[in-house]
């Protein structure tokens, strides 16, 4: 114990030399320890705290995951609701655009057709049909305020529709070529035979006073003759589907299918006589 208790310089230097030699021998035997090497304590800490840190980290991650999933699901539900709403809006928009496209095509056809007629043209929309006489009378949204007059001719790109029989300031009533009271002087396109067209039922019209001697062909087209001072000349009317005659009669009846599909009628052109565009 004197080594600790007593101060002795001579002995101290002896021991200093002894310990120095020991250290030098150790260095010579084992070499230097590089500074990059991890200490025993560091390794011990890593090993002992590793599982604990791992456990804490896993628990923390699990809690975070549950919390994040909950938030994610809530957000997803909100997002889903918004997307459903948006899809519905977009579907409606697509439908609107599709309708507009169809309408645009129809209007383009109407425009192309009306360019050939030297009349003032007014675009009208069908607002209703006469329920008692199906497809025989219809109402359009143009009237005397739009210069529509009695007997103004109504057409569309397919052909003749009829004529105006009643006019109010904003609406007009149209008698179609399916109306038996509406009579149109027509011309068979090939044979150039005249006849008087009148409505028969909701699908067909008939042409009266056609001579039996005239060779009327099946599917032959009919156009307006321009006589009678109401209908302009050369407006397509329909085509022949059937004809009926009796031996003792001088004339026969020809049944005509109108070009216009009255079941799908939406827009029409009203031709105003006496006013050029």
């Amino acid at each position: 114990m004197r080594l600790i208790e007593q101060s002795n310089k001579k002995m101290l230097w002896i021991h200093v030399v002894f310990v120095s030699l020991f250290c030098v021998l150790i260095l010579g035997r084992y070499g230097f320890r590089a500074l990059e090497e991890k200490s025993f304590f560091n390794l011990l800490l890593n090993e002992s705290l590793g599982p604990m840190q791992d456990g804490i980290s896993s628990t923390k991650n699990s809690i975070e995951e549950i919390f994040n999933n909950y938030i994610y699901l809530t957000e997803t539900q909100k997002e889903n609701d918004l997307l459903v709403k948006r899809v519905s809006e977009l579907e409606q928009r697509i439908f609107d655009l599709s309708s507009l496209e169809t309408e645009n095509t129809r209007l383009k056809n109407l425009l192309n057709f009306s360019e050939t007629l030297n009349y003032k043209k007014i675009l009208g929309r069908v607002v209703s049909w006469d329920t008692s006489n199906r497809y025989q009378k219809l109402r359009i949204n143009k009237g005397s305020n739009d210069l529509v007059r009695l007997n103004s001719v109504v057409v569309n790109s397919d052909g003749l529709i009829g004529k105006v029989i009643n006019v109010s300031p904003n609406y007009s009533e149209v008698s179609t070529i399916l109306d038996f009271r509406n009579r149109v002087d027509v011309l068979f396109q090939k044979t150039r035979t005249h006849g008087i067209l009148e409505g028969l039922n909701q699908n067909l019209s008939r042409v009266k006073y056609v001579k039996n001697s005239e060779p009327i062909l099946e599917n032959e087209f009919l156009v307006t003759s321009g006589m009678g001072a109401i209908y302009p000349k050369n407006i397509k009317v329909g085509f022949v589907v059937n004809q009926k005659s009796k031996d003792y009669d001088l004339t026969r009846e020809v049944f005509v299918q109108p070009f216009v599909d009255f079941t799908k009628l939406e827009e029409v052109i009203i031709l105003i006589k006496g006013i050029n565009e």
Partner: protein, 163 residues
């Protein structure tokens, strides 16, 4: 227990406590390694000349090597060199106030680190790596220099009546 051994035991206990605090709390949070082993060696070199001191320095450095990447043999050699240096300059050292103690600690650490890294530079030959280590050591030198005020008082209390 023998009085001297008791003092050694208490000193080593304090030292162990400091190493553990540094290793568990200071290093992970601040990223700075505080080397208290040097301070303990300095303290003994400065105050005592008992023959077992080289062994004590060796024990401290060996113990420290568990907590640090330093080489205990090199550190012990530097510590033994410090016995010689301090004994040589003892007459010019005036450590009767706090300021001088802090300055002494600071410069002693600086010299110690310089010696250590010079030896490593000779062996490892990686100047940039050594320079980087030396740069980061400055922070720990500053901290230990400030903490030395309390450490001096603590060790003086333990070793107050020693020869």
């Amino acid at each position: 227990m023998n009085k001297g051994l008791k003092k050694v035991f208490i000193t080593l206990l304090i030292y162990l406590g400091l190493e553990l605090i540094t290793g568990v709390l200071v290093v992970p949070t601040l990223g700075v390694a505080l080397n208290f082993s040097i301070f303990f060696c300095l303290y003994f070199c400065l105050n005592y000349t008992f023959p077992a001191m080289p062994y004590m320095l060796l024990s401290i450095q060996y113990f420290h090597s568990f907590f640090s990447s330093t080489d205990w043999a090199v550190e012990t050699l530097i510590a033994l060199l410090f016995i010689f240096l301090i004994k040589f300059f003892k007459d010019v050292l005036r450590l009767d106030n706090i300021k001088n103690k802090v300055i002494f600690t600071f410069f002693s650490y600086l010299i110690w680190y310089f010696l250590r890294y010079t030896i490593h530079l000779i062996v490892q030959k990686d100047f940039n790596f050594i320079l980087d280590h030396f740069y980061y050591s400055f922070i720990s030198i500053f901290i230990i220099s400030l903490v030395s005020i309390f450490l001096f008082k603590m060790l003086e209390k333990v070793w107050q009546d020693h020869v």
